[in-house]
């Protein structure tokens, strides 16, 4: 994995957003022409409880600099109870990643409702700034990315 290190470096941040709250909130931010950094890419999922922690590991492995999981506020889940499971799952996962050396700022979870466009914007701005300050993620990044094969040779 070539380390991207120049002054124009922009982090790649992945956001899993639940379809009913945060994705709607993100759309609303657009409707209101709010501005936020370009480095967040959203993956739409039906519910934050759909997000398997293995996706998070995969994102770091593939070179994401930060991962964000967003869902409805507890109690507001479109599917009634999904985000309660999300909450437990990622409270533990966050600590586990931290324990394994990932900066807690690189993995964050947030409840953002469909009306909280501003919160979505603020969250993206904040996470983006925090990760930019941290620099490129080098932990858990795949050592076997094929560009190694393309550029270098064996071993």
């Amino acid at each position: 994995m070539s380390v991207k290190k120049d002054n124009n470096w922009e982090p790649v941040i992945l956001a899993f957003c639940c379809n009913w709250c945060t994705y709607t909130g993100a759309d609303l931010a657009g409707l209101n022409r709010m501005k936020y950094p370009e480095n967040v890419r959203v993956i739409r999922v039906p519910c934050s409880s759909r997000v398997n922690p293995q996706f998070i590991i995969r994102a770091f492995q593939k070179g994401a600099d930060g991962v964000l999981v967003c869902g409805c506020h507890p109690g507001d889940c479109h599917y009634a109870t999904g985000n309660y499971y999300t909450r437990r799952r990622f409270m533990l996962m966050k600590r586990l990643l931290e324990y394994n050396g990932i900066d807690p700022k690189r993995f964050q979870a947030k409840w953002i409702s469909g009306s909280e466009a501003a919160k979505f914007r603020d969250t993206v701005i904040q996470v983006s700034a925090e990760i930019k300050a941290l620099g490129p993620n080098t932990k858990f990044v795949g050592t076997y990315a094929p560009q190694n094969a393309v550029e270098g040779g064996q071993e």
Binding site: Y144, A145, P146, G153, E155
Partner: protein, 377 residues
């Protein structure tokens, strides 16, 4: 040629100048939390200055096979769609030295050679690595309790196919290793090196300056294995009639189906081929696989010719002790003892060899109680 033990590091340094020298090194993984004692790992790794070289009498957990047959090895890269291509990735041209290979492991490399070089196809990847490697074998000074290579027809003091054979001199004294506690020669001991091939000759040329030619020194060649087993010399043929023998049901019961024995085995060479994609581009690689894994032979529809651990372990033992003989004329088990030492379920191939040697090949029943006398304490 005689190389004083104290000059070993220097010799390795010289060899490292134009080759990657793989040598058993005791590596320390420091536990900074201070809760557990630091862990030691002994493995073949490239020599570096200051490395704690451990040419002592403990075998490495991982055999040296990965220098010739890496755990993961890229085969070719490709691109799909527009401008599709397939491009071979061969190993680098860098010469390597495998230094301190034990006779059992040397024999395992011979077996690998047979697999990868004969029977119609030559494996290009293995061949390239093999051609670039010079192997310095070392005669064992002491053996582990799980060592039984001499029962398998291997002399722990000599590795005939090595490029260079190295033995401790008879006058060398030994002491306990301050780190691991095992037996090692004292610093004032020395090694006798003997080139067996041109490659070996060339290697010794490089360190000639460090060596002396003292004809009075004699190599220490009286090491015997701690573990002696009674093996039927025709066990391979006997086993070939024992495919349905009830012994298999019994001895495979304890197996937990992990791949430890195959990955620590110096002669296990099975591999899988898979790919890793990166957008339209990707890379095909091969990696070690284990016949003990349930998915090893499972077919796309779900049917599996070896559905349970019984069939899988039977295949492994049969492969080591019978099939390989039939195909290549030698036993694939070299008696290094690694699988005995590391098996989570404490399965013991030497025990199987003994039992299989003794049982009636046509027996319809099998009981461990028949062997109780020997084992019960």
């Amino acid at each position: 040629m005689i190389l004083a033990k104290k000059d070993l590091d220097q010799a390795l340094g010289i060899l490292s100048q134009d080759a990657e020298v793989f040598v058993p090194i005791i590596e320390l993984i420091e536990d900074k939390s201070g809760i557990k004692e630091p862990a030691f790992e002994k493995k073949f790794m490239p020599y570096f200055e200051g490395a704690a070289v451990g040419l002592d009498n403990f075998n490495t957990v991982k055999p040296p096979k990965d220098v010739l047959f890496p755990n993961v090895e890229k085969l070719y890269k490709y691109k799909t769609g527009e401008n599709a291509y397939i491009q071979e990735i061969l190993p680098e041209d860098k010469p390597k030295v495998l230094f301190g290979v034990r006779p059992c492991d040397m024999r395992s490399i011979d077996s690998m050679d047979k697999v990868f070089f004969t029977k119609e196809y030559v494996d290009s990847y293995y061949a390239k690595r093999r051609d670039l490697v010079t192997i310095v074998a070392i005669g064992c000074l002491d053996t582990q309790r799980t060592c039984f290579c001499d029962s398998m027809g291997i002399d722990p003091n000599d590795a005939p196919t090595a490029d260079v054979m190295m033995n401790v001199t008879k006058t060398s004294r030994t002491k306990a290793c301050p780190v691991t506690g095992c037996t090692i020669p004292e610093d004032d001991g020395s090694y006798i090196l003997e080139a067996r091939t041109e490659k070996g000759q060339a290697l010794l040329e490089k360190i000639k300056a460090l060596c002396t030619e003292d004809g009075s020194e004699e190599a220490c060649k009286d090491t015997v294995c701690k573990l002696k087993i009674e093996k039927d010399p025709k066990l391979d043929e006997k086993l070939s009639t024992m495919f349905e023998h009830p012994i298999w049901d019994k001895i495979t019961k304890g197996c937990i189906g992990c791949g430890t024995c195959t990955f620590v085995c110096p002669t296990c060479y099975c591999f899988d081929i898979d790919n890793e994609n990166y957008g339209a581009e990707g890379c095909k690689y091969r990696c070690w696989d284990s016949c003990m894994f349930s998915d090893y032979t499972r077919m796309a529809g779900g049917a599996n010719p070896r559905p349970t651990k019984k069939e899988r372990l039977r295949n492994r033992y049969m492969h080591k002790l019978s099939y390989f003989n039939e195909r290549y004329g030698e036993t694939l088990c070299v008696g290094c003892g690694r699988c005995i030492e590391n098996c989570p379920a404490h399965l013991d191939i030497s025990e199987f060899i003994e039992k299989a040697s003794k049982v009636d090949a046509d027996a319809k029943e099998y009981s461990e109680a028949d062997f109780a006398g020997k084992e019960a304490r």
